[in-house]
Structure formats: structure tokens, C-alpha cells
């Protein structure tokens, strides 16, 4: 009678169950989600591209459209990774009680968080390329290296989705997101080497920039498109992996505190 089949951590069936829920739900809101995730970065791209691009023709050895058209991938990763993770996680546990239902099924918090982050990362991998492809229309030179961009965007997206879930797990009210957004995320996305290079900034700003996962995403994407720089890019990749792992564990830990009493 008593089942002998031991269930393990991070089971495929559980991850799949949570992701199926997301995919089915996505079919009813993909338009608004795709719009908000891709249009904002595209506007930044065009604003900087035309506005700033009319003042400078080359930056750090790149044509400005090449510089900003690759850097913008990281902005999209933030917009389509961290923000949806923050809001949807908070809404799902606080208002819709979705996570109560899921955790009553054979799914643990670890699997729930992992599946949510994987799904957002998948979307981020796709969305991340959209403004870059827009930039191609405006003169960014296509290259085979662009095929690596979805993978880089998905890896960075997993980290940012996890970080967003962590923020939601800590938040007492949805209003507290403003502190994270204005105090941390906005400065990070501006000082990531997307719109202007960090090299000319004061040392302290460069140090801070190097701690910014978005900076490493920007660099890795740029080098994937225009040519890798050896060990430097191994470093960028390692930083992104470490950020993803740390955020993932942090998200699980704080969601457990939130969901398991």
C-alpha cells in the first residue's frame, strides 16, 4: 500500500508541471508581456542611437549603433527577467494564492522557484534578441556570433529572474519594489556599459560596474557578436554563472521562508 517510490529533489515532473501552468497562462497574456519586454528597450535603443549617435560616431572603437545595439540586450534581459519575476511572483503568492495550490501538489518550493526562473529565462533568451534585431535594421552588422546571444541572454535572464523572485519573497508590500527599482536596478542598467563605456569613468565607478552582472552580460554579448577576447570573456561568463547560482539559491531560501510556515 505505502508507496515505495522515493521522490527526489528537483524532479522533472514537478518542474514540467509548474512550467505547463506558465505556458498555458502565457497563451492569454503573451501580447502585453511581449510588448512591455521588448518595446521599452527598443525605445532606449532608438533614443540613444539617434540622439547620442548624432553626437558621436564611434565609441570605444565601435560604431555607435554597433555599441548600443549589442549592449541593449542586457537592458532587455533586466526588463524581461527581473521585473516580471518580481511582480508575477508577488501576485501569485499574495493575491492569487497560486503557490498554495502548487505546493499542495507534489511540488516543493525549490522546484517551484526553479521552474519559474527557467521559464522566465527562456522568454528572456528570446526577448533579448528583439532590440538587437531592430538594431540590425538600423545598421548593426549581422554576424554568426549573434547565434550565441539567446543563450547568454537566457543565462543572465535566469539570474535576474531568480533575483526578482528573491526581491518578491522579501517584499512585505508591492510598494517596496520602488526601492529596489529606483535604488538598485535603474542605476545598474544605466551604468552597465550599454549606452556609454565604463572605461572613462572614475575608478570607483569602474569597480562598481564590474560588480554589476549587467556589465558582464553587455561585454559578453558584444564580444560574441564582434569577436571574443579570450580569458576576459571566460571571466564574464563565470561571473554570470556565479550570479545565476547565487540568486537562485537566495530565491529558494527566501521563498521557503515566505511559503512554509
Amino acid at each position: 500500500m505505502a508507496a515505495t517510490r522515493r521522490l527526489h529533489r528537483l524532479e522533472r515532473a514537478a518542474l514540467q508541471g509548474v512550467m505547463v501552468r506558465e505556458v498555458v497562462n502565457f497563451s492569454s497574456f503573451w501580447r502585453s508581456s511581449t510588448f512591455s519586454s521588448t518595446v521599452d528597450p527598443t525605445i532606449y535603443l532608438l533614443a540613444f542611437g539617434f540622439g547620442f549617435g548624432s553626437l558621436v560616431s564611434t565609441v570605444a572603437g565601435y560604431d555607435y549603433i554597433d555599441f548600443v545595439g549589442t549592449g541593449i540586450v542586457a537592458t532587455t534581459v533586466l526588463f524581461s527577467g527581473a521585473f516580471p519575476a518580481m511582480y508575477s511572483t508577488f501576485v501569485k503568492y499574495e493575491f492569487q494564492h497560486t503557490y498554495d495550490a502548487i505546493l499542495a501538489a507534489p511540488v516543493d518550493t525549490e522546484e517551484l522557484v526553479t521552474a519559474e526562473a527557467l521559464w522566465i529565462a527562456t522568454r528572456t533568451g528570446v526577448y533579448g534578441c528583439v532590440p538587437m534585431l531592430v538594431a540590425v535594421v538600423f545598421g548593426l552588422t549581422p554576424s554568426w556570433g549573434m547565434l550565441l546571444v539567446p543563450e547568454i541572454a537566457a543565462l543572465a535572464g535566469f539570474g535576474w529572474a531568480s533575483f526578482g523572485i528573491f526581491i518578491a519573497a522579501k517584499a512585505k508590500a508591492i510598494e517596496s519594489f520602488s526601492y529596489w527599482q529606483s535604488g538598485l536596478l535603474t542605476p545598474m542598467f544605466l551604468v552597465a556599459g550599454t549606452f556609454f563605456p565604463l572605461e572613462d569613468l572614475p575608478t570607483w565607478a569602474q569597480v562598481l560596474g564590474n560588480l554589476n552582472p549587467l556589465f558582464h552580460c553587455v561585454e559578453l554579448v558584444r564580444h560574441a557578436v564582434f569577436g571574443f577576447e579570450g580569458w576576459e570573456d571566460v571571466g564574464h561568463l563565470a561571473f554570470l554563472i556565479a550570479f545565476a547560482l547565487a540568486s537562485w539559491r537566495l530565491a529558494i531560501r527566501f521563498m521557503e521562508r515566505r511559503l512554509i510556515l
Binding site: 505505502a2 508507496a3 508541471g17 501552468r21 498555458v24 497562462n25 498554495d100 499542495a104 507534489p106 511540488v107
Partner: protein
């Protein structure tokens, strides 16, 4: 092999200074329907949540379907269905999509998913509304969907947390028929409720909870006989008269309880010299006598 679907021993759960569950014993034998009765704040929901390991007890032992909790909770959850008090359906999805999602979450094998969904639609009598979005359903339909969603994987144990709270009387009867049907199929059921009539009709045994403790356990009718006697006298009148009756009855060592516009006198052995009408005792009398609290 486990001897009972649920076996809880001396469970304690504290939230800061508040002890929500205070040394609770609870048994649900296989194939029986057990009611967990108590007012708001008695610890029913905390007890229910411990059974899915969404609450981790501070003390005590807990076994569900032979699995020790919280360690093996996921195995237990794979074989039980949970109907929450708060509606957590995906409102922008259709009835059928909601069931599809949970067929995945409950790991119904791919070749059986379609059949399981059809069966669930039939049980809940929602066949005709399969393509409707949840936010277009009535309250009763939503509750039926919530229940049938928990039955997709044919669980051996069903947890129902206040299954008819907030529903119209005739809708409630429909839900009762559904639950009774499951019970007759041999599904073990634990149901928390604060509707006395619901417990009387559906439960083989009830556990009455107050302040985190079980104050009485037994079959509904045995509990009524034991604690409330065979009948009660119910006296109606203006408030001043009711106060007078209460004092009089208590002076004779009888127990009383206020029921809105009347006073019920219990254990008076049919003495009607205070005036009033005889009526059959019920579980509510037991409840109020034991906990000193009105239930609704």
C-alpha cells in the same frame, strides 16, 4: 503498512507568542470521513496546512498515508488531493485548462490525462462549461471545479478546508452530495468546517477543536447524547425574560446557551416548567457547551 490515512500525535505549532495548535491528536482511519470542527482561530487551518507540509510543526509526530512528515511529504502529496478554503483557480484560464495544468502537477501519465480530465468534468458536472473561463462561472461551479481539480489523480485521501463556506444553501447541498459520493467510493476524507450541519451529515467522526486543542472526539450522535442529552428546551422571549430564564435554569444546575433570540436549556430531562418548546439536541449544542463559543 499504515493503519490510518492520517495519524497525528501531540502536534504543537507556535507562531511567536501564539500557540495555534497545542498538542493535537488526530486520526483519520482509511475510508472514513472525519470532521474538524471549531470556530475561527481554533487552529483548523494550521492543522490542515501541516498535512501538506506548508506548516512545519514545532513538536509531535505526523504520518500521512504511511509517509512521515515533513520529510516524505512530497510522496504523501502525490497521493492526496487538497481543496483549499481560498479559491486559487487560474481565473483567466478555461475550466479544461485549469484541469490540464493540475493533471500535470499531479503527474497523471500522458496517456491518461485526457481520460482523467473527462472524469473530473463529469464528477463536477461541468462538462457543458469546459470551455468557459473561470471568471464566468458561478460560485458553486467554481467550488465544484476546485474540488474536482483535487481528484484528477484519484487520490486515496482528500483534504477539504471549509468546502462550502460562503455558498448558498442549495449550492451547499450539491457539494455535500459530491462529497458523500466520494466517501461511498472509499476515499478517506478530512474536512474542516464550522457548519455544524455539514459535519453531522457527512462525518463518521468529528474532532471538536478549541484554542488548538481537541476538546471532544467521537461520532456526531454519540457526542450529542453524551454532552447535550437527548433533547433541549428552547425558550423564546424578550431579553429581560431570557436573562431570568438563564439564571433560573443555572440555579437548578442545568446548562444553558444563548441562540440569538432564545435560550436553550440542556440536561433538564424534559422539564418544561420554565416554558418553551422541546427540540432535538444537535452538534451545535455540544460545541457551545464544550468550547463556550458560538460557532457562526
Amino acid at each position: 503498512m499504515a493503519s490510518a490515512a492520517i495519524s497525528m500525535r501531540r502536534m504543537v505549532k507556535r507562531f511567536g507568542a501564539l500557540t495555534a495548535v497545542d498538542g493535537l491528536d488526530l486520526d483519520v482511519p482509511f475510508g472514513q470521513c472525519v470532521g474538524l470542527l471549531g470556530p475561527n482561530g481554533a487552529g483548523k487551518s494550521t492543522t490542515m496546512k501541516a498535512l501538506t507540509a506548508q506548516v512545519i510543526p514545532d513538536e509531535g509526530e505526523l504520518e500521512v498515508l504511511g509517509f512521515r512528515l515533513p520529510g516524505d511529504s512530497k510522496q504523501a502529496r502525490a497521493e492526496m488531493g487538497v481543496v483549499p478554503q481560498l479559491d486559487n483557480l487560474d481565473v483567466s484560464l478555461t475550466v479544461e485548462q485549469n484541469l490540464l495544468v493540475f493533471a500535470h502537477l499531479y503527474r497523471v501519465p500522458p496517456n491518461k490525462r485526457k481520460k482523467a480530465i473527462e472524469r473530473a468534468l463529469r464528477i463536477a458536472n461541468l462538462d457543458a462549461r469546459r470551455a468557459s473561463k473561470v471568471d464566468q462561472l458561478s460560485g458553486g461551479m467554481r467550488r465544484r471545479l476546485l474540488i474536482t481539480r483535487a481528484l484528477l489523480h484519484e487520490p486515496r485521501l482528500l483534504l477539504l478546508d471549509e468546502p462550502t463556506v460562503g455558498l448558498d444553501p442549495q449550492v451547499r447541498q450539491g457539494i455535500w452530495a459530491l462529497i458523500d459520493g466520494l466517501r461511498s467510493e472509499g476515499v478517506s476524507i478530512l474536512m474542516s468546517t464550522h457548519y455544524i450541519e455539514e459535519a453531522e451529515r457527512l462525518c463518521d467522526t468529528v474532532t471538536i477543536m478549541s484554542h488548538g486543542k481537541a476538546v471532544a472526539v467521537g461520532e456526531p450522535h454519540a457526542l450529542i447524547r453524551e454532552h447535550a442529552g437527548p433533547e433541549a428546551i428552547e425558550v423564546y422571549g424578550p431579553p429581560a425574560r431570557l436573562t431570568e430564564v438563564e439564571a433560573d435554569a443555572q440555579a437548578r444546575g442545568w446548562r444553558t446557551r444563548r441562540t440569538g433570540t432564545s435560550v436553550s436549556i440542556l440536561h433538564s430531562n424534559g422539564a418544561v416548567d420554565l416554558g418553551g418548546e422541546r427540540r432535538v439536541t444537535n452538534l451545535e449544542d455540544v460545541f457551545v457547551l464544550l468550547t463556550g463559543e458560538e460557532i457562526t
